[in-house]
């Protein structure tokens, strides 16, 4: 962990949520850090806890959630922020969601939506706020911003609306952007465009990014480092380039082998048996053990710690022994 100079530091985060009347663990000992200007990917399947991690950081957990552990932003504990300091935090840490339509008021114009935070929280005058909004739209490739500000969400396509969301997230000049599957609902050509915009703006402005996705290759393309989550815990974290070439956790390797390849069909895909589980469904010991082809008795005995290995961190007791078996072997199955 890069303790020094980290903009965001999450340490030993545990989160429980009420599920069908019982408090259930959704995040188990999540630790990660993001440096100023660094892009970190958070990859996982459904129930892995990747969205919950972002929500915990954004202080947007559902009501009734209980958390322990620490989330520090710029050196101060996020949980202790109230009133104006919480508002400041929300200006500095912006969130972009998967489905823009679910996060925008359908009866308010784009202009109202985009300028609200500036005008109410920052006291920016109306004309100035609108001018800034038009500039921000230009930054994400949307011309004739003036006209767009007068339109309503239903008049815009999904890709266009997602660019509006990005523009609006950047209006308060955040230092950290939490992007939760921002392109999953978009067509692949639109995805490429939106990712390019996000990537370019991030580099120009030195923004830190937490990018949540289920797509290892997409995370690898835009993130310096990628963390892989399974059952509410981080099982591996490495530089993205290394993660693709030399995964250290059996789950990462299996996930990458299970995906069909555009370059050619295989007789049978290397499917992972069983299904992904949530943290509260995870068995004793390693959560991935029931699906892991390398699991032994000791894997089931106690929960492995996330430990430092060459090049990253991995939560697998057998990581060193099986390192040779995990390198790319997609063709041999």
């Amino acid at each position: 962990m890069s303790a020094n100079g980290a903009l965001l530091e999450v340490d030993g985060l545990h989160t429980k949520l009420p599920v069908e009347g019982r408090m259930q663990t959704v995040l188990h000992d999540v630790s990660l850090s993001i440096g100023t200007g660094e892009a970190v990917g958070l990859v996982g399947e459904s129930g892995s806890g990747k969205s919950m991690t972002a929500r915990a950081i954004a202080r947007l957990l559902p009501s009734g959630a209980s958390t322990s552990g620490s989330i520090r932003y710029d050196g101060t504990e996020v949980g202790s922020r109230r009133g104006s300091t919480l508002r400041d935090y929300r200006g500095e840490v912006a969130m972009i969601f998967q489905d823009p339509r679910a996060h925008i008021n359908p009866v308010r114009s784009i202009g109202d939506f985009m300028t609200e935070a500036l005008r109410t929280n920052r006291g920016v005058a109306r004309a100035d706020a609108r001018a800034r909004a038009v500039r921000a739209l230009g930054d994400v490739g949307i011309e004739d911003g003036e006209r767009r500000l007068k339109q309503y969400p239903h008049e815009l396509s999904g890709g266009l609306l997602q660019r509006v969301m990005i523009a609006s997230a950047l209006l308060t000049e955040p230092r950290l952007v939490l992007a939760d599957e921002p392109t999953t609902a978009l067509d692949v050509t639109t995805q490429a465009e939106v990712m390019a915009i996000l990537d370019e703006l991030r580099r120009e402005r030195g923004l830190a990014l937490l990018f949540i996705t289920h797509d290892l290759d997409l995370a690898g393309a835009v993130c310096d480092r990628t963390c892989v989550m399974y059952a509410g815990r981080i099982v591996e974290s490495q530089r993205s380039a290394d993660l693709g070439e030399r995964p250290r956790h059996p789950y990462t390797a299996a996930l990458s082998a299970a995906r069909p390849a555009i370059e050619g069909a295989v007789h049978r895909l290397a499917a992972i048996r069983g299904r992904p589980v949530s943290a509260f469904e995870a068995p004793e010991g390693c959560a991935f053990a029931p699906r892991c082809e390398f699991a032994q008795d000791r894997c089931r005995e106690r929960t492995p710690e996330l430990r430092v290995v060459s090049g990253g961190e991995v939560r697998c007791v057998r990581a060193d022994e099986i390192a040779g078996n995990l390198a790319k072997e997609t063709e041999s199955v």
Binding site: D187, A192, A261, E263, I272, P276
Partner: protein
Amino acid sequence: MSEPLLEATGLRKDYGSVLAVDDVDLAVEAGGSLAIVGESGSGKTTIARMLVGLTRPTAGTIRACGRDRSTPSRSAAERRRRGSEVQIVFQDPYSSLDPRHSAQKALDEVLRLHGSGSDSRARKARIAELGELVGLDDRMLRALPRDLSGGQRQRIAIARALAADPRLIILDESVAALDVSIQAQVLNVLADIREETGVSYLLISHDLAVVRQLTEETLVMHRGKVVERGPTSQVLDTPQDPYTRLLRESVPRPGWRPTRRLRARAAAPGEAGRAEREPTSTTEGGRRGG
């Protein structure tokens, strides 16, 4: 030469002034597997709906198993016969299964209509057989959809389509909503079924890797029109149409970097492209991807 299993010619669908499908020809040979690839608004799902009779074409003919089905069926018997020829599996198993029916019951209903009829022992045996084919055990067959995962539900939907013993199954984004590890299981099941039963597939998909894995022939659609067609490997390895190339270049892969194609402020004032509109005939964006 024998007639294709499914053949559509001059297929067209207008929605008011919008032309959703424009003069599309397609054919699936018996035992073949065809993909229709495209993005939202390309018309691919409208084609699927017309082929199964959920949407009526504005023009064109559809023939399946040697019989015309361009117009709505006139009798229950005709509807049943069409159902036993072509089945469809939708993207979302949550909304396509009755929440009050177990898999067993859903399959039984189809078997009563098609095939095994009143012999409950034969139906039971067939349900077990279908369960085995898609990898659902007894417990899963007895469970209600809400107690099953998305992948298990989608396997029920596939088993239900198979229960009618169709010659062709239309897979409308059937694996798109599944987690990667589950998607691989379902894709393997689909390959096994084809090997064992000789059923044909028409896959509607935006995912080129899934298309590669499951089909031999591909048709690429853009704004209601077919822009390219051919063997899947050829279309994906050496795409000829600029739009197919753009699709291919937009897929994230190791070493891929997203690049901007639209640039509002940098655009020359004269041609000032409507920035929100996707470009159709440029690949310069993707080329630098490397």
